[in-house]
Amino acid sequence: MLGLMKKEIFMMKNSMVTAGIVMLILTIAMISSENAEIGILSGYIVAFTAISPITMIAYDEKNKWDRYSSAMPATKRQQVLCKYLMVILSIVILTAIFIALCAIKGETLIYIKGVIIVPVVMAITISGIELLMAYKFGANKARFVLIGIMFLIIFGARIYGAMDMLSVITRNPAMFYIGGIIVAFAVYIASFCLSVHFHSNKDF
């Protein structure tokens, strides 16, 4: 299991370093601009984690890793689990960088909480769906699903604005955030169980 995690880290190292550098550059640009809203950067966490699952599965497909690793002393469940843990690890690292950057800019804890929870919930939910699609249909088809999800998010954001959902959230923010986190993890866990099922029944 440790070896499999290491493999994912080695594979994603370059992407993660690039993501970190881009985030840093954007932050510097925003700090230097007085009117810039650093909270926008939290959207970057969603964008990066939406791409990561497809990148990981695409690498494996290219190298035919699943066939190669079938005869290794690691179960199919462990192999799937590594991908899910890797995505969570990416979210944690990017969130930590984001919080650190907000702190450097002198933002308050309430502000940070307000701008980070929704993107994290979205990142967990989207990557859960992405991983499931990638395990079921392969990385290529999952890319199209990602585009579909992005469309839904834009469409959803418009409805969200039209329905004045913001007032609902501000009336009971704690409930909204906790509910969101619970739903995100429920989707993620359900996605993991289904991915294990699909991966175990697949021929490589």
Binding site: L4, K7, M11, N63, R67, Y68, A71, P73, A74, D203
Partner: protein, 280 residues
């Protein structure tokens, strides 16, 4: 005990069926799996390595059903395949670090000695290696975790004579431990003839024969005779014939040929050729 027992293995695809494939690999032996492209060799290997599901039949590794194999058994198995392997974006050093965390018997000292012996460099990325170098790396990986059963699928294809010999020598060393076994699938019949103890010939998804190599070579002979003389032979003695305008060549059972007929020493390639050609 057999390292591998395959019994009545079946798998259907659209346009291809693997039918009741059975063979065993006794301890301390090398089994060669031969057959034309698309005969079913890789399907058999993929089923054994758990990459493809079987429709029916049994596969036992070290006496344990494939479905019940635990991590101890998978720790004892190593696979080298021509068209898949370790992620190419990694360096050999990265790969070792990953493998250390996967195989409980990983031996870094052994791996390092193979890397040096095979002329590889720890700092190199796998994608920068040539086909031969990649195969050597896969073999070094396979031999560095105390595997007892080595499976090689077309591992010597695309390699030059020297590289092939180097790999075959390593396999010969490996098999000196009488508790080990090797399953080698390849198109290169000369390699098989040189190192295999048993040969299983797959044709259109069926096992044509699975026998001891020396017995096979003793059992069959090739004769070059004209068609009239061929008719003098008992039809039971003739396995297959290959007739041309001027002469006939036949694969025959050596012990059923009357004296006076000049027989040639046969090769596995001859036997395979006649069976595939199929005309009696």
């Amino acid at each position: 005990m057999s390292i591998l027992e395959v019994k009545n293995l079946c798998r259907s695809y659209k346009g291809f069926d693997l039918n009741n494939v059975s063979f065993d690999i006794p301890e301390g032996t090398i089994m060669g799996l031969i057959g034309e492209n698309g005969a079913g060799k890789s399907t058999i290997i993929n089923i054994i390595t758990n990459a493809v599901h079987k429709d029916s039949g049994t596969v036992k590794l070290f006496g344990v059903d494939l479905e019940n194999c635990n991590s101890d058994i998978w720790n004892s198995i190593a696979v080298v395949q021509a068209d898949c392997g370790f992620p190419e974006e990694l360096t050999i050093k990265n790969a070792e670090s990953v493998l250390k965390g996967i195989y409980k018997n990983w031996d870094s000292g052994k791996f390092e000695s193979y890397i040096n012996k095979l002329g590889l460099d720890f700092k190199k990325k796998i994608k920068s290696l040539s086909t031969g170098m990649k195969m050597k790396l896969e073999l070094a990986i396979a031999l560095s975790h105390s595997a007892k059963f080595l499976i090689l699928d077309e591992a010597t294809n695309g390699l030059d004579f020297m590289a092939r010999n180097e790999i075959l020598d390593i396999l010969m060393d490996f098999i000196q431990d009488e508790s080990c076994g090797v399953l080698l699938a390849s198109h290169i019949i000369e390699d098989m003839e040189r190192i295999c103890d048993y040969i299983t010939f797959i044709h259109n998804g069926n096992v044509v024969f699975s026998e001891n190599k020396d017995d096979l070579l003793d059992k069959y002979a090739v004769i070059n005779i004209d068609e009239n003389k061929l008719s003098e032979l008992d039809s039971k003695a003739v396995v297959y014939t290959d007739k041309t305008q001027y002469s006939s060549k036949a694969l025959v059972y050596r012990n059923q040929i009357p004296s006076g007929f000049e027989t040639e020493k046969t090769t596995i390639q001859d036997i395979m050729y006649f069976y595939m050609k199929g005309g009696k």
